[in-house]
Amino acid sequence: MSATTAPIPSNDGGRASWLPRLISAFSGTTGLAVKLALLSAGNGLAVWAIVTLLAKHQWIAVAVLVAATALIDLLYFGGARTVPAKFLIPGVVLLLGFQVVPIVYTVAVSFTNYSTGHVIGKQDAIKQIEITTLQPPENGKAYTMAVAHDASGRLVLLLQDQLSGKTFVGTQKGLTPAAPGLIHASGGVIESAKGYTILHGLALFDLDKTLQTYVVPVGKAGIRPQSTTTAVELQPTLRYDAKRGVFVRLADGAVFRDNRKGSFVHGQEELEPGWKTGVGFANFSSIIHDPLVRSPFISVFIWTFGFAGGTVLLSFALGLFLAITLNKKGMRFQRTYRSILIIPWAVPGFLSLLVWGGLLNDKFGVVNRIFHISIPWLFDANWAKVSCILVSAWLTTPYFFVVSLGALQAIPEELTEAARVDGGGPFQIFRRVTLPLLLVTTAPLLIASFAFNFNNFGNIYFLTNGGPFTGNSSIAGATDILISYTYKLAIAGGKGQNYGLASAITIIIFFIIAGISAISFSRTKVLEEVV
């Protein structure tokens, strides 16, 4: 709120009165109307959701939703006793929606094999395997097709062999050659047939699900409708034995069994697609046992600490230095300097990162050209690390500049004054008086900034994308931090897109950050006791 735009009343008495008036406006009839409207909208949404969930047989979700809606309704009509709850509910709902649900989902995924080849459910997978293992038999025929009702209203397929031009009538019992002249076809379209009503338009389109399972048996193979006007002869190569829950290959009788990891397998052979299923702690144990995951993990882990720590320390030091410099009394153009220093903060981060990527290019970059140096900023493992920290610090410094400036101004001058009278030098005063007082307010922000940079995916992704690649890993580059490494592991390892494994690593990262934060916050309490 700035003084020029906000309607701030002229005296303090007026300022105190508008807020209660606003609140009281909501306690009367207007308030009741607003409350009823909001609750009605909420209930409407809930009823709609319940109807939708019922249609999908999500019983647990329905129960939870009904209970929650009823609870909210009761609370908001509960009178004075439920006032605290009225204020808590919106926050709790948002917390559940934006924090708890994603966490629960991530944990749930980490115990599954959700990855390429394991995306759909088992029933769907069985259906897909049956469809995709159909094969045209030798000299398999393709037909032009029309769907029709015969005289007694039964569904039949009128077929014309696309090569020979011979015509047939197909039913689920079998294929019979049509009498000459019965079926009229021209230009690849079956136009009419005596004694049959050909279905067109919606009458035909509505039969889609029936046609998907309609097979005209021809020996071992069958003619199946493909599009609205064509059919093709296909032969199954696998048979699903629903009783035993296995696939049997017809050619050699090989049995493909459920391997309990979401696939039907026979020795080394695996049927695709597999399905999504629980695999217990398999993802977690592969972090420890799979050399592909484990070997880069340690170095990535150390560098992540270096990156987050380096960025925070450097940007805090720079920000504090600038704040002290610009906090000097009687300095001219103080506001201008301060505004300029905040610019990096005002530009969208990813833009700055892409620009920096260009500036640091070792052959064409401005940085090397201006200074007449040839430092491989992005192409050498160690220099790339330096670049990452420098650029991240450049982005974060304005934040610490603003924070430090505020904190500095909050330190009473009497304290530094007194220290000077006691004979303390400027450095001593800074170390013994200013810095400890400053840290009381900024330490939690330092921790937060560390946690943020620990997971600063954007900076790495846009600046180096983890590169350069130096070691023998095809996945982790020299500047990959844990979160970007996780991302690459999820999309670039094996068959790609291993969400289960990525979720497992994410959970480990969560514990690391939670641990660091907990320890650091307990340390900052010690700082507070100093004062």
Partner: protein, 414 residues
């Protein structure tokens, strides 16, 4: 509030809620009839809509709902998690998604008639085919694209041999104190796609083919014998400054447009830019090195998703994709809308744009990007090998770089 008022208020709220829900369900029930949902991206939305509506006009009762997904590849990534009600029946896809989507069980096989198959180059159909045991066609090709060598004909002669290209590029570099001879994009992240002509020209390949004709992820040719035998050429190019990995996408473009390089390796997506630049140019295939220096080929097309069956529009979706989108007229309008070359050969003959036609020729003999999901493990490692080998001073020997890349890729595939 008295308890009676409270009760009445509660009643009002509940009833109002019921009404809202009722109104919602009535609205939902209206959408009867057959609706076909097609996903595409913003660039192609108009062309796809035009073609799909022309098809729908022949099928009274069918409405087509074309949805533009922000990012082209988002179509692939969202297909597994999308809700049934919002799921597409058809997507516009790149051929290299085939393996992943088929392995996930999200797309349906397509059977083309012999007459239709004849109208497409075999590799375009092969590019959309996948199967570990039984190979199936999962997409209908509509457009093809590939990179080529763009030559500034005012500055240099069009080379016919690689030695000529090398000497022309280096002479120009020397005369203009330029940084590189050929502008080909890499950057610190690497770009195996744009480097592929050099890779194939030196005898490298990504995956071999097994006896069943399928790509074999255990046969990796990133460090093939021919490639290793001639890898010293890469070291020579690096020393001469013919190519350099510091050149990234935007640098490569500006080098060529500002005449700091007379050769640029890029694709038809830049043909408009080239035509507007006022430069005189010709697009050719990179001349033969040891083998033909062919580019990767990208094929784009339509796929029918498993949702078509769930929505009960399977036959319609198949009709649009297999019988209509394959026709020359549909192919021409789809291809020209985004500056690519149509896959249908009859449609290809109708393309009069000289630049597109030159790019088409530059792709002759090219290799479709591998469409098996294991390809995900290759891009990073192969790109990195080129970066290491061509980063100017301090570069790794190419033979070493490719050997370690081959090792890392094999390990990543597992």
């Amino acid at each position: 509030m008295k308890s009676r008022t409270r009760l009445i208020a509660l009643l009002v709220v509940v009833v109002a809620g019921m009404f809202a829900a009722f109104a919602g369900s009535v609205h939902a029930a209206k959408s009867a009839g057959a609706t076909l949902t097609i996903w595409t991206d913003q660039n192609r939305k108009d062309a796809v809509t035009t073609v799909a509506n022309a098809w729908a006009a022949k099928n009274p009762g069918v409405t087509v709902n074309v949805v533009a997904i922000q990012n082209f590849t988002d179509q692939r990534d969202k297909l597994g998690t999308v809700d049934v009600s919002a799921a597409p029946d058809i997507i516009t896809a790149a051929h290299d998604w085939t393996g992943q989507l088929a392995a996930n069980g999200l797309v349906e096989p397509i059977y083309l008639s012999a007459a239709v198959k004849k109208q497409f180059p075999a590799y375009t159909l092969n590019a959309f085919s996948y199967g570990t045991a039984i190979k199936k066609l999962y997409g209908v090709p509509t457009q093809i694209e590939n990179i080529g060598l763009v030559v500034n004909t005012k500055l240099v002669k069009v080379p016919t041999t690689f030695a000529q290209l090398e000497s022309e590029a280096l002479a120009y570099k020397k005369a203009h104190h330029a940084a590189v001879g050929i502008a080909v994009q890499q950057g610190s992240g690497g770009d195996a796609y744009h480097m592929y002509p050099f890779f194939s020209g030196l005898g490298g390949y990504v995956f071999g083919v097994n006896s069943a004709g399928n790509l074999d992820p255990s046969n990796i040719g990133v460090a093939s014998k021919t490639l290793l035998a001639h890898a010293s050429l890469v070291d020579k190019w690096n020393k001469e400054g013919l190519i350099n990995s510091a050149v990234d996408g935007s640098t490569a473009q500006s080098l060529f447009l500002k005449k700091q390089a007379a050769f640029w390796i890029t694709g038809p997506w830049n043909s408009q830019l080239l035509e507007q630049s006022g430069l005189k140019f010709k697009v050719i295939q990179v001349p033969k090195i040891i083998d033909n220096a062919v580019p990767f080929l990208g094929v784009q097309g339509f796929m029918v998703t498993k949702w078509a069956g769930v929505h009960g529009v399977d036959a319609l979706a198949q009709d649009f994709v297999a019988n209509y989108a394959t026709t020359p007229s549909a192919q021409v309008s789809l291809a020209l809308a985004d500056g690519r070359y149509p896959a249908n050969t009859t449609a290809g003959k109708q393309v009069t744009d000289p630049v597109l036609a030159e790019f088409g020729k530059a792709g002759v003999g090219g290799v479709p990007m591998p469409n098996i999901p294991q390809m995900n493990s290759v891009w990073g490692g192969l790109g990195a090998a080129w970066v290491k080998a061509t980063k100017g001073s301090g570069a790794t020997k190419a033979a070493t770089a490719f050997k370690s890349a081959a090792h890392a890729i094999a390990e990543a595939i597992g």
